[in-house]
């Protein structure tokens, strides 16, 4: 029994954090909002150089051959800077799906390019209705009517939708099955989809942890500097308690997320319920962080100018991403209310 990350995992997290905090600054984010695609090839290349885009790509394709547990802390850091490049989905959803689909020709064609950063492979699951970042896809892996297809973006039509979060690019995607490669249908497709959904939800959950931490940091900094009635507003007990309420819940959202990553990495039978627990509490704490942070920022928090909204809007958008609270509650309920459920002390591991 060891519920800690390895030295290596922690060091990797630290170096990725340093990179992201320096490179993905609020100023850069605002610049990218002004561009057509909202995405940066240069940044993507840097992420590839760090080995990140190939984290889950097998070594034979030039990747690192790592798993969900190796990546979860990095996804958290991606959330901390509200990264908009499709890194988390690429690592957690696209590469594993491509591998598990078992089409060696496609795998051979794309995995090396994913690892090198040459290509972005984008997954679209029906649970999300719209496909994020479909516009910058080199290959689309799409769920449609219970089957999974590999789609050449040139054969798909995209209809853009605007999210409240200017960093999210959402598209309704249509394609003819006849123009695509069928990867799986029936039961196999269901399996693939469930696993992709779990990984996507884990990615959202991990990023939500980072978002919550960032909003705490921004708020603590703001309230320590901003004065009212002659003192820093961060010295008011009501302001402190708003922050403490995020912080203590965050501690109890992290471990469910790590456990979910572990479950997926080890293909445990409890994966789905663990992921749902993680997604629920991580999104809740990010949501609370948004609520309390805007409140302690006062009118400043309501502006476009202060950086808080970058993270707040991402947190709002994440609430229903890869499954609403209701969807995940149903999965947890199924696990704990069934008659054979193993509950109580000593039944956790």
């Amino acid at each position: 029994m060891d519920f800690t990350f390895s030295e290596d995992q922690l060091l990797f997290q630290e170096s990725v954090r340093d990179f992201l905090v320096n490179e993905v600054t609020p100023e850069k984010i605002r610049e990218l909002w002004q561009t057509e695609s909202g995405r940066s090839d240069a940044l993507w290349a840097q992420l590839a150089e760090l080995g990140l885009t190939g984290m889950t790509v097998p070594e034979q394709y030039g990747g690192l051959g790592m798993n969900e547990l190796d990546f979860v802390l990095l996804a958290q850091e991606a959330g901390y800077v509200a990264l908009s490049e499709p890194l988390v989905n690429s690592v957690l959803v696209a590469a594993p799906l491509l591998i598990e689909a078992g089409n060696t020709q496609l795998a051979d064609e794309w995995l090396a390019k994913m690892a090198s950063g040459e290509a972005r492979v984008i997954v679209g699951l029906e649970i999300n209705k719209l496909v994020e970042d479909a516009h910058c896809a080199d290959l689309l892996l799409l769920e449609k009517a219970g089957a999974v297809y590999a789609v050449n973006p040139a054969e798909a039509s995209l209809r853009e939708n605007k999210s409240v979060d200017p960093g999210r690019k959402l598209f309704a995607v249509e394609f003819e099955a006849s123009t695509a490669v069928l990867l799986a249908d029936g039961e196999q497709a269901q399996k693939l989809i469930t696993r992709a959904l779990n990984r996507g939800a884990l990615g959202v959950a991990a990023q939500a942890l980072g978002l919550a931490q960032r909003m705490i940091d921004l708020s603590v900094q703001y309230t320590s500097e901003r004065k009212q009635f002659g003192v820093a507003i961060g010295s008011f007990q009501a302001v402190k308690h708003h922050m403490a309420n995020i912080a203590f819940r965050l501690e109890y959202a992290k471990t469910p997320v790590y456990r979910a990553a572990y479950a997926l990495a080890n293909d445990l039978k409890t994966s789905s319920e663990n992921v749902s627990h993680a997604k629920l509490v991580a999104c809740e704490v990010a949501d609370l962080a948004a609520k309390n942070s805007i409140q302690v920022h006062g009118a400043m928090g309501y502006t476009w100018e202060v950086d808080l909204h970058i993270f707040m809007k991402r947190a709002w958008a994440f609430n229903s991403n890869y499954g609403t609270a209701g969807f995940h509650k149903q999965r947890v309920a199924t696990a704990i209310f069934n008659d054979g459920a193993q509950l109580g002390a000593g039944k956790t591991f």
Binding site: F229, A238, Q295, A299, T303, W304, N321, T324
Partner: protein, 390 residues
């Protein structure tokens, strides 16, 4: 107690309803945080004025109907039920107007009230300053009387001034006694926004639109007859402006009851998916009950006031209740919309849901402006409950 409308009240309601039915624009106006929308709303105000529906609580001789608070509530119920446009000149007609009637000279009333009523002059507030958000007594912008006593010279900065970007006039408090502290030595002054030395810097809000602005004053000359009340009396004039009756004008129950009604509809239309999260049904029900309670308590207060009662800490209990209710209702709406909840109204796949996102963003400000809810809680504890200040 008699919880039934009189015949006159019912007749009044019918009259309001008929006029609104005939006049409310079929197409919703653009947001008044855009230049085009602002002009549309200004025109709507003129139309309301023509029908004598612009400020029904004003005296008849000023274009109003001398309506009482209950008539006001009825009017608002019909107004919201009809989906009529938001009021772009509420700062003028509901806040400054009554204050002018109480503290203004005859000349000032003549000069300002009509333009306010017709929508010709749109007013914005100049309360907050960069370091005086919830703490109005910390105001530092100065107004110095010229040597000949003919005008004030204003220097300083105001912020969070709603709709200041396209407004015509600003009213606010300025420090006329440079030695003074806290709420002493402040004076209430009306400032034309086209004065020389004024710079208005729009502040984009959460939705990206410039809903408010900073106003910079650089040796702005304002004639003394733009002073409302005596020099140094600013605080008491301003407090009258901030009173509850005025608050009631701005946040009538109808607004929240209509949101609650739409939420019930939204829930029923999406019940199957919504019920996956068993809290949602409860939240919807609670929204309905709370909006109803807000209505009940407002009616009670209005009746009490009409019978000569005074306002206590209701202004604070009221502020907390409606603002947090508004946030909860919109949060629930977005939950029901699920993945559609994040879409901007103009998105092709958004459907008829944009209102909820807009409303959600707007609701965020409710717990902040006009004294944060933390300050309101302090006020309740100290003034209503008598707890020790420190």
């Amino acid at each position: 107690m008699k919880l039934e409308y009189t015949e006159q009240q019912n007749a009044f309601r019918e009259e309001v309803r008929a006029w609104l039915k005939a006049n409310v624009p079929a197409e919703p106006l653009k947001s008044f945080d855009t230049e085009e929308g602002f002009q549309q709303h200004r025109e709507w105000e003129a139309k309301l004025y023509e029908g004598r529906w612009g400020m029904i609580t004003w005296p008849e001789e000023m274009g109003g109907r001398g309506a009482d608070l209950l008539q006001w509530l009825i009017f608002e119920e019909e107004y919201y039920a009809a989906g009529a446009p938001l009021r772009v000149n509420q700062n003028g007609i509901f806040l400054l107007g009554p204050t002018l009637m109480e503290y203004g000279t005859e000349q000032q009333k003549k000069r300002f009230l009509n333009g306010m009523a017709t929508g010709k002059d749109i007013w914005c507030q100049g309360w907050s300053e960069p370091n005086a958000g919830s703490d109005m007594a910390a105001i530092r912008s100065r107004a110095d009387l010229s040597e000949d006593g003919s005008h004030y010279i204003i220097n300083g900065q105001k912020t969070w001034s709603t709709r200041a970007v396209w407004a015509d006039w600003c009213f606010g408090m300025f420090r006329t006694d440079p030695e003074s502290e806290r709420h002493h030595g402040l004076t209430f002054i009306l400032v034309p926004l086209d004065s020389e030395g004024i710079t208005v810097r729009p502040i984009p809000q959460l939705d990206g639109l410039p809903g408010f602005a900073e106003i910079f004053f650089d040796n702005v000359k304002v004639p003394v007859d733009c002073r409302l009340g005596g020099e140094g009396d600013g605080w008491s004039v301003a407090m009258a402006t901030a009173g509850f009756e005025r608050g009631l004008m701005l946040r009538s129950p109808a607004r929240f009851q209509e949101t609650a009604r739409r939420l019930v509809e939204l829930y029923k239309a999406n019940q199957q998916s919504a019920d996956e999260d068993s809290n949602i049904r409860d939240e919807v029900m609670r929204a309905y009950m709370d909006a109803e309670a807000y209505c009940l308590t407002t009616y009670q207060t209005a009746c009490r006031l009409m019978q000569g009662g005074k306002i206590g800490a209701e202004a604070s209990t009221n502020k907390i209740f409606w603002s947090e209710l508004d946030q909860r209702m919109h949060a629930t709406g977005l939950k029901i919309l699920a993945t559609r909840g994040e879409l901007e109204p103009e998105s092709p796949d958004a459907g008829e849901v944009g209102k909820w996102l807009d409303g959600w963003l707007f609701s965020q400000s409710g717990s902040i402006y006009a004294g944060t809810n933390e300050i309101q809680r302090n006020i309740i504890a100290e003034r209503l409950l008598g707890m020790p200040r420190k």
